[in-house]
């Protein structure tokens, strides 16, 4: 069975500090991977997607970056956090090119002060 793990569960960070969030998928080779941001109130915003190792496409510009250093790992980062980065970050995977359902991780709650 496939499992998706996100770390950390929650973070409280200062404005201007760096950030690194991680996501690991086990039990599935070569998945498509996605990062989403969810503001308070619930609207989902897709941030990045990746269909293969080393290849990441940006969907929106939010002063964040993403990398896929391994087939089963997706990293979201920034060198300088903004207040607007606060929210809930969700990682997801799917089998194919967007035609398939997505499987979401448990999320990371980020509070920027």
């Amino acid at each position: 069975a496939q499992t998706i793990h996100q770390w950390p569960v929650a973070e409280i960070k200062a404005v201007g500090s760096p950030l690194s969030l991680g996501c690991t998928i086990k039990g599935k080779s070569s998945p498509n991977l996605y990062w989403y941001w969810q503001a308070t109130g619930g609207t989902l915003q897709q941030l990045f997607y990746s269909i293969t190792v080393g290849q990441v496409e940006s969907v929106v510009q939010l002063n964040l970056s993403a990398s896929r250093p391994k087939d089963d790992q997706f990293i979201l980062s920034t060198e300088k956090l903004l207040l607007s980065h606060s929210g809930f970050y969700l990682c997801a995977w799917s089998l194919g090119t967007g035609d398939y359902e997505q499987y979401f991780g448990p999320g990371t709650r980020l509070t920027v002060l």
């Binding site: 619930g42 997801a92 799917s94 035609d99």
Partner: protein, 115 residues
């Protein structure tokens, strides 16, 4: 361009009542459609999906949805809700042709079930 509209930001029902959550989509081709549920402080979970065939699809926990191409809709229904169904429900669309890596989500409908 594709879009998903969930016109009701919040729906309140009593336990045992029937439920319909509305979803309208815009897409020129044949869409793949999904309903997801998000419980507080958790990720999204798939409730059901429609790819083709019978327009009424069954999901988990007694949920079903009906696809209507003529109305561009994919409404979610449940005959009798339970207080544990309180959550946020998202309708989503994916393109049928390869190369589109941006699944489109609606803004979500918050369901509150009163005991």
């Amino acid at each position: 361009a594709q879009s998903v509209t969930q016109p009701d930001a919040r729906v309140t029902v009593s336990e045992g009542a029937s439920l319909q959550l509305r979803c309208k989509y815009s897409y020129s081709g044949t869409p793949y459609l999904f309903w997801y549920v998000q419980y507080p402080r958790q990720g999204l979970q798939l409730l059901l999906k429609y790819y083709s065939g019978d327009p009424v699809v069954q999901g988990v926990n007694g949920f079903e949805a009906e696809f209507s191409k003529s109305n561009s809709s994919f409404h979610l229904r449940k005959a009798s809700v339970h207080w544990s169904d309180s959550a946020v429900y998202f309708c989503a669309l994916s393109a049928t042709s390869g190369g589109n890596y941006k699944p489109t989500f609606g803004k979500g409908t918050s369901l509150v079930v009163h005991p």
